[in-house]
């Protein structure tokens, strides 16, 4: 399997697009994460996120993009009059387990680690959550979570 890179892309209220991994939001060891730096950038410049999406890149080529509803009146499918989010959020999620061992009853051994990237469209009463399997880039889940 080729190398998979996942990233968030945030459309901002000044018309720019912040991209995880691209300056000034590249990943820098021991410094605040790109998302934390984006939050500082928004506060400092009195900006807000107007749209958020996840992009999957395989072997150097973007192959898939997952979009949340946007605040933009020009968003695709605007004619369907979708609910407009009041905000956005982003997380990465990681899981790891100690698994039972086949044929060796009672003992546990480290299992695989699983990584996900997720973006949230926030509404007054609920959040629309889009989770993408970061290890394969192939599977995604959409959830509506009440607040």
């Amino acid at each position: 399997m080729g190398k998979i890179i996942t990233r968030w892309l945030a459309s901002l209220s000044d018309g720019s697009v912040a991209i995880e991994g691209k300056k000034p939001f590249e990943k820098i060891p021991n410094e605040l994460s790109p998302w934390q730096r984006l939050l500082l950038h928004l506060a400092k410049n009195n900006l807000e996120i107007t749209g958020l999406r996840i992009q999957i890149e395989k072997e150097g080529e973007p192959v898939r993009t997952f979009n949340l509803p946007s605040k933009s009146p020009k968003q695709k499918w605007a004619d369907l009059k979708p609910l407009i989010p009041v905000g956005f959020n982003y997380f990465r999620r990681v899981q790891r387990s100690m698994e039972p061992i086949e044929g060796d009853f009672g003992n546990l051994r480290l299992g695989n680690e699983y990584h996900f990237i997720e973006i949230h469209a926030i509404y007054d009463d609920f959040e629309l959550v889009l989770i993408v399997d970061e290890d394969t880039g192939n599977e995604s889940w959409s959830l509506v979570l009440p607040k």
Binding site: S33, F91, R92, V94, L108, R109, L110, H115
Partner: protein
Amino acid sequence: MATFTWTAQLTTGTLTIGATDKVGFYGANFGDAISVNSYQDSTHIENSSGTHLCTTNHVHNTKYLTSSTVSIDGGSSQTLGASVPTTAQCPLKINFSDASSVATSNAKFWADNGSDVNTAPTDVNFKAGEQSNTSWTSAGGKTNAVALADQSAATSHDFYIFCSASPTAVGDKTAFRLGIELTYQ
């Protein structure tokens, strides 16, 4: 990429749990069965060849007594609190690290049946808590997980876990798995 490292904390020092190492709950000594409806009296780690790795420096053992009390390493009952057990006395230290400085949230720790995260282990009562918790959590299934405290931005995050397991029926327990999950940004 961000990763978890599980470490067994011993009476002296620590032992990183390697990919092929095995961790188990036992009766009084390594290899001893736990009596039905009793909680473990010792916790051990061995390598893939079955060699016991904590022969002299044992993994700390936290045994459930009541919803708010614990026996640490076979000692008398103590009330769970800010320093009971201490971070060093927790049998598990689970470290989460990332190259960047990230904040963690919604971390949780649980035991399940090995196939469905939301189903409690089969024939096992499992209790756990995060260091400084004042009561045990019956952490069978992810929906009943121990909620671990959020941590502010850093490249390394340690979670200190105390835990205890009790069989409710005779026999080896194969539908029993421990899990941790968190979100970060």
